[in-house]
């Protein structure tokens, strides 16, 4: 009974985002603005910028992902949709897991994937080499799903809580640090001519582990929050 729930929630979320295109683009706008702040704050020297680029781009992607994640469940809880989704699956069994996976996927499709696609633009602005930009996109392609999954977990934990957005960032960002280290490290490695294979394997392992465990934890958090 889980496939219809997953499909229904995913389709609905994407449809809702399509109706509010501006809202869906806000995280990307934030990313662009935040990234642009660094040259302004640090100075336009190309060598410095090239060096800090992997970290800056990754950190801004992380923050952009976290900012848009609070809305995942908040509206649904207020209008009662979340209760209905928790009850789906027939005969009174709670179906938090497919809901959690669907929400994470919709968040990634709407925020993570666009970030991967626009990252090259900003890589160029920081004068990264072509190979580095490719590494950037690859690391974000592996990393943004991790961010969506962890952000999803944070949103479920802080559901309905005052100042949930800021609290979520405090809770989840420490957990995202390994992904940040391996992701930006991969780009730095490529930029300095070294191999990034180690970074990518670790990032890949993290992706798999998070993909398997985070939805389960999110489902538990949703049950706690709706009880």
């Amino acid at each position: 009974m889980t496939a219809p729930v997953f499909g229904a929630v995913l389709a609905r979320d994407l449809r809702l985002a399509a109706r509010r295109r501006v809202d869906a683009l806000l995280p990307l706008a934030f990313f662009a603005v935040a990234v642009s702040l660094f040259p302004l704050g640090v100075g336009p020297e190309p060598n410095t910028l090239r060096q800090i680029a992997p970290g800056v781009l990754w950190v801004c992607a992380l923050l952009a992902a976290m900012l848009s994640v609070t809305q995942l469940y908040a509206n649904d809880q207020v209008d009662g949709s979340l209760e209905q989704m928790m009850l789906a699956g027939g005969a009174g069994t709670t179906s938090a897991l497919p809901v959690a996976i669907a929400k994470a996927l919709s968040h990634w499709l709407l925020t993570g994937l666009p970030l991967v696609l626009i990252a090259p633009l900003f890589g160029v602005m920081f004068d990264l080499s072509g190979r580095s930009i490719a590494a950037l996109c690859a690391s974000l392609a592996l990393g943004t799903p991790i961010l969506s999954l962890l952000g999803n977990l944070g949103a479920a934990l802080t559901l309905g809580v005052r100042n949930g957005g800021v609290l979520l960032i405090l809770l989840i960002v420490p957990l995202c640090i390994p992904a940040l280290i391996f992701g930006s490290g991969a780009v730095s490695a490529v930029e300095s001519g070294a191999s990034a294979r180690g970074h990518f394997s670790l990032l890949g392992a993290l992706f798999i582990a998070t993909g398997l465990l985070a939805p389960l934890a999110t489902a538990a958090a949703l049950r706690i929050a709706t009880e």
Binding site: M1, P4, V5, G7, A8, V9, A11, R12, R15, L16, R19, R20, N75, V78, D79, G80, S81, E83, Q84, M85, M86, L87, A88, G89, G90, A91, G92, T93, T94, T226, E227
Partner: protein, 207 residues
């Protein structure tokens, strides 16, 4: 007249807690096919909490709930579970898909017609009044399995006379074909066939 066929939902010594307060304990209840149970009690006594427990959204602080396998439970809470940006038809479709209800177009059209909303089927929910939204929320009952147990929290809320009539007819039909209903309502029920059974929540326990 009590139907002597199988009990489809039974609760034994149920206790419900909200925060640190115990709302009620020692509640026993069973629901049989064809019954309409009206849960009554003062504000804050746990009517909504009871419905949520029976729906499976929360676990009771004590006691147990037994449900007959194969009997679906349909829960319509106080909130309508409608998104402002979806149309009436899309909302109905989403909720039906979610719960595995009938998604056939003619069933949905019939449901909307019953509640007088067919003309608004492509209107965004945002443009509807409170009463109209309540009707959309209730419309999915027509797509639900025919003998399900309906758990309705204040279904008559915001409905006008026409809406109430439509709902009463729906309830009567549902009971007649062997389904059952458990609902709360601060508005006195005007339904007479079948006569609703009252379940009064007290501080201590219940009927």
């Amino acid at each position: 007249m009590t139907d002597t066929t199988a009990v489809i939902l039974a609760a034994h010594a149920l206790a419900c807690r909200r925060g640190e307060r115990i709302l009620f304990h020692g509640l026993n209840l069973d629901v049989r096919p064809g019954q309409i149970v009206w849960v009554r009690g003062a504000n804050g006594q746990g009517k909504t909490s009871l419905l949520r427990l029976l729906a499976g959204l929360a676990r009771p602080a004590a006691g147990r709930i037994e449900t007959l396998a194969g009997r679906e439970r349909v829960y319509i809470g106080h909130a309508n579970a409608l998104k402002d940006d979806l149309t009436v038809a899309e909302s109905l479709m989403f909720l039906s898909r979610l719960h595995g209800f009938d998604t056939a177009a003619d069933v949905h059209d019939g449901a909307l017609r019953r509640f007088g909303l067919h003309s608004r089927r492509d209107a965004p929910v945002r443009t509807l009044s409170q009463g109209q939204r309540r009707r959309v929320a209730l419309a999915r009952l027509c797509a639900a399995p025919p003998t399900a147990l309906w758990l309705l929290d204040e279904p008559f809320d915001a409905l006008d006379a026409q809406g109430m009539t439509a709902l009463n007819e729906l309830l009567a039909e549902h009971a007649a074909r062997g389904g059952s209903v458990l609902l709360t309502s601060h508005v006195p029920l005007t339904l007479t066939v079948p006569a609703p059974i009252t379940l009064q929540l007290h501080e201590a326990s219940a009927a």
